[in-house]
Symmetry: C2
Subunit: 231 residues, 2 copies
DNA sequence: TGCTAGAGTAGACAATGTCAACATACGCTC
DNA sequence: GAGCGTATGTTGACATTGTCTACTCTAGCA
């Protein structure tokens, strides 16, 4: 249970009995996923790569699903980090939104399988929630968007107060679904070529931001936008 | 090879030796996929459901991938049919676009696993193209959109001539990626609840169409929007 | 009537996810 | 430092799966 709360970053190395298997397995999974672009690798192959017996991973993950959840969580961390870095030194709130969009699309296109794992509904039925890190990363990303919007990314500043919640959610819904869709169409090669990714993102983005500046759609109450809350 | 070109519609029944196994298997796969919401069913279970030996499906599909491709193709046919029916008796081009969007989102939300199979990049690497029916259905859908836009769905009629190709592609890219993203966010429960699907679609759609009426983004040349051509 | 090719069956094999039983070594308590 | 519990890793087993090869049957054609 606590294995889920540890970071993948190389700080705080704590070599175990035969090394840090939890991290080794997750990293091997990330490697194989990125290489093969498929989640249909075997736990046994990860074990082989890590140089342990085929059952050792089961001391760290209840089943394959849980391992994939950990990989997904790493993906969210990476994405959140990249988005945060992309916006770090930008003053213009609109530029910050654009930079986030670029980072989002780029991340997805560069590793479609990871992106699909993260967002593709393989995990996260109503039975088992997503890992905590994952939700944290998602909330961080959402906060970045909210900041940019409240700073005036849509033409005028919008106070980040509860009365504006539905307006924020409407804007985020449009922004997110547009970028999500573009990312997946590019990643799955339904539009392309992907080396035009940046120009396409830019074109779609600017039109959308202008549209949002003009009119933010009113979304109904009782809607959630973001990782599902405990329900 | 010719097995791929047959329709799933119940016309032209041709009982074989032990029935029409090809169709029976595809229908069983569609059932299991819809019920379990997963592509990780076994060919053997389909064979069991169809009452044949575990190897009989291999007389009709080279491997599981090919079976899934056939299921995906059926999904495209169904979606294209639903979109065509939704727009059939609508005069307003803008209403036709909206109806298509509703049909698209609704189809995805009601059967996420099928939608993911169709669009999720599991099939269609550069090695093996998608089946012909699938591409036909996709082109039909695209034609519907082009018709609506040229009829004035974005405020003014736009001639469907080659000089306007990039404008059409830009508009379709925005429209499609927005709806694609919304569909997947809803299907994967990243926004919700899905019983508010129609209102959310409506809200996002109207804003987007207004935005497009105002300004259609210029997309770079050399971009394809739609199922990848033979490359 | 008899043959041939398509359609279905039977059996086999390696690989996989996962379970249970066993082994080992780290780190705590005394 | 000795002893021990528990986390960690190993071995073996089992049912299931995708897929191969070899077989049987039957429909339709000569």
């Amino acid at each position: 249970m606590d294995g889920m709360t540890q970071d993948i970053s190389p700080k705080d190395p704590r070599p175990y009995h035969h090394g840090d298997l939890h991290r080794a397995i997750v990293e091997a999974a990330l490697d194989v996923l990125s290489e093969s672009q498929s989640t249909e690798f075997s736990l046994r192959e990860l074990a082989r790569r890590a140089g342990v017996s085929h059952n050792a991973p089961y001391k760290h993950f209840a089943d394959k699903r849980e391992l994939l959840a950990a990989v997904s969580a790493v993906g969210f961390e990476l994405l959140a980090k990249r988005m945060a870095e992309a916006t770090k030194e930008l003053d213009s709130p609109r530029e910050r939104l654009a930079a986030m969009a670029r980072a989002y699309v780029c991340g997805g296109v560069n590793n479609p399988a990871l992106y699909r794992l993260m967002f593709g509904g393989y995990l996260g039925g109503q039975d088992d929630g997503r890992p905590a890190i994952e939700r944290t990363a998602a909330y961080n990303m959402k906060a970045l968007i909210v900041d940019a919007i409240s700073d005036g990314a849509l033409g005028r500043p919008i106070a980040d107060v509860e009365a504006n919640t539905r307006m924020f959610d409407g804007a985020i819904l449009v922004f997110w679904s547009q970028m999500h869709g573009l990312t997946l169409l590019l990643a799955d090669r339904l539009v392309g070529p992907s080396d035009k990714m940046e120009q396409l993102t830019e074109a779609v983005l600017q039109g959308m931001l202008d549209g949002l500046a003009n009119c933010i759609p009113a979304i109904p109450s009782g809607v959630w936008v973001g990782p599902p809350l405990a329900e």
